[in-house]
């Protein structure tokens, strides 16, 4: 006679998807609640449960939540953009930074011009847009990154709530 163990009524999303018993020390359970089934589904689709388990086992327990959230973000990005994944977001942000650097340099040059001419005669100030700018330093390995994509520089929302990562624990 088979000994049927009672099913856990609190299986995590991972064990539900994998159709297995959720043990008390399940590595996924703290981070993949049963009320968020799509989160694990996406991570599993891109990385695979086994690989996620290995990654989580590698990191200290106190950093596993951040790890899961970053994996979920990457999985979401990859599913939305199967060719570029997160790299699309990086390229857009780099391009935006270049544009802002350019605009900021021009603005500072204008302000410097104001400062230089404010003590001289009060005749009309001619602002020359063709100011010389320091060349933007290239990042090794990323020379073509910012300019290889046709997306608009403002189309970052497709990569999910980036604001959640701007102030979160992701940057120490």
């Amino acid at each position: 006679m088979k000994n049927h163990e009672p099913r856990s009524s609190s299986s995590c999303a991972a064990c539900k998807l994998l159709k297995r018993r959720c043990t008390p020390n399940c590595i996924f359970a703290p981070y993949f609640c049963s009320d968020e089934p799509t989160k694990f589904a996406k991570v599993h689709k891109v990385f695979g449960a086994s690989n996620v388990s290995k990654i989580l086992a590698e990191v200290p327990e106190e950093q596993r939540e951040d790890t899961v959230n970053s994996l979920a973000f990457e999985a979401e990005a990859r599913l939305r953009d199967p060719v570029y994944g997160c790299i699309g977001a990086i390229a857009l942000l780099q391009r935006k930074t270049v544009e802002l650097q350019h605009d900021l340099t021009i603005a500072r040059a204008r302000l410097a011009l104001y400062a230089a001419t404010s003590s001289s005669s009060s005749s009309s100030i001619i602002l020359d847009d063709h100011v010389s700018m320091a060349p933007f330093p290239s990042v090794p390995g990323c020379d073509g990154l910012a300019y290889s994509f046709g997306q608009s520089s403002s189309d970052l929302s497709r990569y999910g709530p980036l604001n959640d990562f701007g102030h979160g624990p992701y940057i120490s």
């Binding site: 695979g48 970053s70 994944g85 935006k96 104001y114 990562f165």
Partner: protein, 144 residues
């Protein structure tokens, strides 16, 4: 034409068929490339992802998968999301500075006799990304 097994089939210790999905993007002279990708995504997932794409886009996809896998190996907690967070903060900081500078210019345009306050260049864009995140071992080819 690639003779012999591709890096994937060598790693997986199997015969490399003529229509191997990996062979064009994981050449045998760069075994580390497939090893990284396999470690993070698994060969099966990578194969499925490549299969779902039109052939002209597969090379790009393989490159980005490799990049993300390397980021994840180097930073198991944040992977390339750490880079996105840093860039996002830099963009926000730059936008804020630009807004201040433009407001000052607008003010001076209306009040040309006022002297502008000295500008402090307190944001440094010279170090966009930590080199550890982006400099691959063989940086002779552009990523994209």
């Amino acid at each position: 034409m690639i003779s012999g097994r591709c890096a994937a089939c060598k790693y997986l210790r199997r015969r490399c068929p003529s229509d191997c999905i990996f062979s064009l993007y994981f050449p045998p002279n760069d075994p580390q490339r497939f090893a990284c990708v396999h470690r993070i995504y698994g060969a099966s997932n990578v194969g499925k992802m490549l299969q779902q794409l039109p052939p002209p886009l597969r090379a790009q996809a393989a490159d980005t998968l490799y990049f993300e896998a390397r980021c994840r190996i180097e930073d198991p907690v944040y992977g390339c999301v750490g880079i996105i967070s840093q860039l996002h903060e830099q963009v926000q900081s730059a936008e804020s500075e630009l807004a201040k500078a433009q407001a000052e210019i607008a003010f001076l345009n209306c009040n040309p006799q006022e002297a502008p306050a000295p500008i402090e260049a307190n944001s440094n864009f010279n170090n966009l990304l930590p080199e550890q995140y982006l400099c691959p071992p063989s940086a002779q080819n552009s990523w994209f």
